[in-house]
Symmetry: C2
Subunit: 191 residues, 2 copies
């Protein structure tokens, strides 16, 4: 998903400033399946404006600095639908936690436990986010998407809670800086 399509998608739900778009995709309703930062959103909005896919109006508000509010144009809607139509690439999932879990045997038990606790907290906060925010989006698909996220996250969370013991048990079994006790893994798989 490139930032262009992302901005169009958000603007398709309603007018917004660059700041608000960032908020939505990084902390709000969209944040559990997309992300983008200031540095890409602002230039993208400018480009979309130049291409006539969004309209821009400046709102002078007393107190706060001027805000540039963007609206999607008809051409923008067309382009957005065109983008949606073409084959989406695979979802992207990157997990530092799983990389760490893969190497559990090298780690200190205490570090593993910390990492697991942190991961649980991350997932829980994500679930809270979905419950509280997704319902606000005025798109028919939002509930469906929210449920999808909730289900995947919940499944992962349950797994971690149920099986964290196995991971913790691995800690320290492959001592890295003690070559005499050379690691002999491959058979630790517990069921």
């Amino acid at each position: 998903m490139n930032v262009r399509t992302l901005c169009l998608a958000v603007l398709n739900c309603g007018d917004a400033t660059g700041y608000e778009i960032r908020k939505l995709v990084s902390e709000g309703h969209f944040s559990h399946f997309v992300d983008a930062s200031f540095g890409s959103i602002y230039p993208t909005l400018k480009a979309l404006h130049e291409d006539g896919l969004v309209t821009q109006r400046e709102e002078r508000q007393d107190g706060k600095p001027d805000r540039k509010v963007y609206s999607i144009s008809d051409a923008g809607r067309q382009a957005f639908l065109q983008n949606l139509r073409q084959p989406a690439q695979k979802d992207i999932f990157k997990s530092g936690f799983l990389l760490l879990a893969m190497c559990a045997e090298l780690m200190d038990p205490e570090d593993i436990r910390t990492a697991i606790d942190r991961q649980i907290a991350h997932i829980e906060s994500e679930l809270t986010m979905i419950d509280s925010e997704v319902r606000e989006v005025d798109m028919a698909g939002a509930d469906w998407v929210g449920d999808y996220g909730r289900i995947c996250l919940t499944a992962g969370l349950q797994y971690i809670r149920a099986k964290r013991g196995e991971l913790e048990a691995l800690a320290g079994t492959g001592l890295p800086d003690n070559p005499s006790t050379a690691p002999s893994p491959t058979l630790i798989a517990a069921e």
Copy 2:
């Protein structure tokens, strides 16, 4: 997860060339929770070599071009463990499919169905990948990580299979090129 840590993680499991690392993280055992491309892996290996975290030996093989095989050094293991220890950031998940699903109402029913089928195929191939390849990694945590992935993917897959009807039913209900029935915007300011 930056590419440095990723390369160290792979090399920690055994020696490899840049090509092999790419294969592992993009198509092999590691590919369901990390990714990286040639363009980042090769320069990173060079940098790791300069920093003394990996050693490099050139193998002249007849037929194929020379291969540069990298091994992690003791300093590299230290650095790797150090990286693992420091707090991992949140997992990254980006889904073009969910963005599309969110906007289901704007889409053609046929396009939705195609997208859903494609998504199911993606998930199934990912599951196959995990089943066939993960067991080959010689790390104790690999099974744990594989099961985690399998469970999350399976949960999502079941959800899609069970609820795709609801999504398909939304298609076309928010007619885009008919401005009279266009969705009324300005829902961002929820205060």
